[in-house]
Structures are given as C-alpha cells and as structure tokens.
Symmetry: C2
Subunit: 332 residues, 2 copies
C-alpha cells in the first residue's frame, strides 16, 4: 500500500523495482560474506517512497509504458542509493535500530556497515555505467554527491548552537532533498519528458524532500510517547539542531533556556527532555514557524506540479503533499 | 620518480592524472565542509602506482597517444577509488596515521571518514557515467565490488585461527588485486587493445596485485625496527592472519605456540611481539614458503606480460616485478 496504489499497475511496478534492487546486489560470485548482511537489510523493506517517485514521474512522459524496463532499473538503483545512505548514516548516528530491526552497525559492527554500504554503492555504479544509463547516471551521481556534502555539513555543524537557518536548509537540501529531487528528475528523463518538464520534476522533488525532512524534524520535537514506544528529542540530544530549535534559539526568553537544556540533554531521561524541549520551542513560536515554512514548501511543490502535463498520478502527488503537512500520522 | 620515469612523457602524464583527480573532487558548489578534509588527503599523495599502471597499459594500444585524455581521466578515477578505499579501510583498521599524516578518521572522526570516502565514490560515479566511459565504468565497477567483498570477507575472518590459504587468497584477490587488475585492464581497453591483450593485462594486474599484497604481508612479519620507526606485527595483533602465519599455524611445533602468542599479542610491546612472531614463522618455514609463492606470482605475471605486444614500457613492468620480490626496500 502506497500513495500511488490507486494507479493501475503501479504496485506491480514498485514490487518489480524492489525485486530488481535485490537482484542487482546478487549479480556476482563469491559474495557469501555479504549475503547474510544484505538479507538483513532487504528483509525489512521501507515504504519505497523514493523509487515510487521515479515510477510516478515516469508516467508523465511519452516514452511510457515503453520505458518500463529502464524505469524499473532506475527505481531499483534509487532504492539501493537510499539503503546505502541509511547504512552509513546509522554508523554516524550510532542508531541501534532501523525499521524495527537492529541496524547493520549494531548487529555486525561499524566496520561491516562501512563495507556493506560501499558494496551497495558499487552495485549502483555497476548499474549506472551500463550503456543507455548515462543520463540517469549523471542525475543520480549529482544527487549522491549532494547527499554526502549535506551529511558532512550537518555533521560539522553538530552541537553548534549558533548554526543558522541558511546552513540548516543547505544541509537538508543535500542530505534529504537531493535524492527526492534526483528520483523525480530521473523518472521524468527516462520517460522522455521535455527539459522544462524534467526541470519542474526536479524542483518538485526538492520541495517535497525539504517538506519531508521538516516534518521529520518537527515530529522529533513533540514529546515522546512512551505508550506508543516513540522516543523523541533525539536530534536535540545528538546536537543536531533543526529548524524549530534554530528559530527558538533567537527568542530572548526561551533561547537562553534552550542553550542551557542542550548542555543537560545527554544526561536526561528521554521523556523529560522531550517535554521540556517541546514546551520551550512551542512557547518561542518554533513549532508554528516550522508549520508555516512547511506550508510554503508544499505550495512551492504544488506550483511545480502545476507545470507538469495532465496525468492521473498528479492527484496522488498532491495527496502526498497534503499528508506531509500532517504530523499526526507518524513517519511516512 | 616512479618505475616509469624513463619513459618519455610518462611523469607528465602521471602528474596530469593527479591534477585531474583533485579537479574531479572540486567540480561542484557548496563543498566547503569537504575542502579541508580533501586537502588533507591530497596533501600527502602516495606513489600513484595504480594510476601509473593505467597509463602504462595505455601505451600498448594503437589508440595511444590519441587516447591521452580518456586515459588521464581513467587514471584519475582509479586514484580516487584507491583514496576512497584507504579512507574507509582506516576506519576499520583504526589506523592513526597514513603516509606519515593523521588519517581522516583520527583527525576528524569516523563519521567524517565515512562521508569523505562516500563523497569520493560519488565523484568516481560522476566521472564514470559520462558518455564514452561506459566500458571503463564496467571494468572499474566490477573492481570496486570485488574490493568491498574482499574487505568484508577479511573482516569476517578476523581472529579466526582456522582460516585457510584459499580464504586468504580470495580475500587479497578482492581487497588488493582487484583494483590492480582493473587498472591494467582499463588502460588497455581505453588504448584499444584487442580482447586477448586486454585479458592478459587484467591477469598481469591480478598477479601483480597478489604479489604486492604478499610482500606487504611479509614485511609486516619481520621484526619492528624502532630506530627507523617501523612498527611491525600489526596484522597479527589485529587478528588478520596472513600467508606466512597461516602456513606456520599448521606446523606441529610452532603452530600451538603461534596460537598462544595470538592470545597474548594485544597486550604485548610491539618490538617483543614482532621478534617472537618472526622467530616462530621463520622456524616453521612460513617466510620461505611465502617467498616461494611470491616468485610463483611474479612468474605468472611475467607470463602475462609476454603475451603483450612490444612496447618500451614492458621492460619497466618487469623491473617492477623484480622490485616487488625484494622486501628490503620498504613499502612501495
């Protein structure tokens, strides 16, 4: 079940992309030591939102449905890029679980996680250097480069209570929006959309990605919910100051209290920390401000969507934007 | 100064490849956080043996010198792949220094090293998806996949005193020989060599790479030299059992003593450990056996070299093989 399930044939295409992603990791001999690790990755599939965007934008061009095979390949590669980035991000975040299962780094060690991510990247490379994939390769390689520099920049800003909004938007544009943007653009390019339409697809993906990350960051600021097993305030504890926090840090009353909380955070109980954090940034207007910025990005994305030709998938894309404005539904 | 300096124009080509590698990492905006890290990597260049092999094999084909530009690009990409792998290997090895300078992971943390390596891989990808690079891309992407699985397999065999020779050769074929082999093959392919010659280039690179690693592993088994600042026995201490050790473990007298030494190694002084280690494996014949295997690989490489057409670079390649049989000269 995904946002595009109502579109005839979509779920089948997405399932094929998932199978193709697995197949791409299996195309060599002597990979025995990897099999166990990769099985662990593939046994807990995510929502496959990024490959779904490739397929959705593939519906806007006149090459569709003839381009179904390269579209599936592209969607599969996008999923592998996402998986590789999750494996490497978990090393940096020291995350114990992902999608309800132990992360590679917690189950097999950081070292294994480094190589498992690299191996997936080598499979991405191998898929993209095949004849006919050059255009998609250029779009996705730019996306990967932007992801790395966004992650690096975020890492270097860690625990910096003077980080500003510009830096924050630069970081999330790289670490999150770059792959969303590249996925939409690659789908449109494979389907033979005009340069104007392909550029609009890329901009849509960028706005959608920023909105997606803003939502994630906002959710991390609401109080933890012990009953539902939801642990929040993790970004703040880890020194990753997101938009609601950055905005509130400049509040004359709450700012100094937030700075003081940042010092105490690592030693605090997660429930108490998240409640105090929410109280402060809500009071400073950080929640309301972030919601307002989210609406701006949703409108920007709608603006790009309006430039795209008519297609049934357009309605679903607007539903996706709407759903992202709602933070009650949990992680998407 | 390298093995090919006598060949007219070679040093200039190699210098251009080095500049190109740096340029490839600089082609985007907003890379500020990376600049400092990458400068640290590029400020301590290595011997550039792998890119030199690309250029050397580029001299065997009839496209040379017309193919000088794609050859330079290929050599630059090979150097970036090597650098990315060194950065990620240092994470796993917890290495404090590399080429006499602090490693990325010791200077900036493991997290930075993960992303810096990924960023270099994204630049590799970006260079290989350009039109006309598909053939080289396929050769090098296979090489990268083999490197990852070799490293993973070695990591999984760590501290396994029952690891056998087959596993060892599989591991070093991946982690080291795969890139040597891909470099030689890619150079020959760019230069338009026939499939037979290109295959011989690949086999030469494989034998050379295995020889290179055997030599490195043998050097790590000779006693440390405190005066010259050479610390040996590190592989053994880290649970990476190389050919001289694996061979000696089956010796009825020295085997049990080596197993016992493995348990004590982490707590031992480096000088004392390396002397005891050398004494045991020398007595068990592990040194002599490894030297014999090295000569086998050198002869295999010579056999492949003989299948290549006449070119001045052939003589230099045979000198390189000879030099690798001598472990007195230190790291190459």
């Amino acid at each position: 079940m995904n946002f595009f399930s109502d579109i005839p044939g979509f779920d089948e295409e997405l399932a094929r992309a998932g199978e193709k992603a697995l197949e791409l990791t299996r195309d060599s001999l002597c990979r025995q030591p990897l099999t166990e690790v990769l099985d662990a990755v593939f046994s807990a599939p995510g929502k496959m939102l990024r490959p779904a965007l490739v397929l959705a934008f593939g519906r806007f061009g006149e090459n569709y449905p003839d381009c179904a095979d390269p579209l599936t390949d592209t969607a599969a590669v996008v999923e592998l890029i996402h998986m590789a980035s999750l494996i490497h991000d978990d090393i940096v975040d020291d995350a114990p679980t992902r999608r309800g299962r132990p992360t590679i780094q917690s189950a097999y060690g950081k070292d294994m996680a480094v190589y498992a991510g690299d191996y997936l990247l080598s499979r991405v490379l191998s898929a993209l250097v095949r004849p006919g994939m050059s255009a998609v390769g250029q779009i996705l390689s730019r996306g990967i480069g932007d992801m790395c520099s966004g992650e690096l920049s975020q890492y270097m800003a860690q625990f910096d209570l003077n980080a500003d909004e510009n830096r924050y938007f630069m970081n999330i544009s790289g670490k999150t929006a770059a792959l969303f943007s590249a996925a939409c653009e690659a789908g449109a390019a494979v389907a033979g959309c005009s340069p104007d339409v392909t550029a609009a697809a890329s901009r849509f993906g960028h706005s959608l990605g920023v909105l997606f990350q803003l939502r994630d960051d906002l959710i991390d600021c609401v109080p933890s919910d012990r009953e539902k097993g939801k642990k929040h305030g993790m970004d703040f504890t880890n020194g990753i100051y997101t938009l609601p926090v950055i905005y509130s840090l400049s509040d004359t009353e709450c700012g100094p209290r937030l700075r003081e909380l940042a010092g105490r955070a690592p030693a605090m109980d997660c429930q108490a920390l998240s409640e105090e954090l929410y109280h402060l940034i809500d009071k400073a207007g950080g929640i309301e401000y972030t919601r307002w910025i989210m609406r701006q990005y949703s409108e920007r994305a709608m603006g790009s969507l309006n430039l795209l030709p008519a297609a049934p998938v357009k309605l679903q894309l607007s539903f996706l934007l709407e759903a992202l404005l709602n933070i009650e539904e949990g992680k998407l």
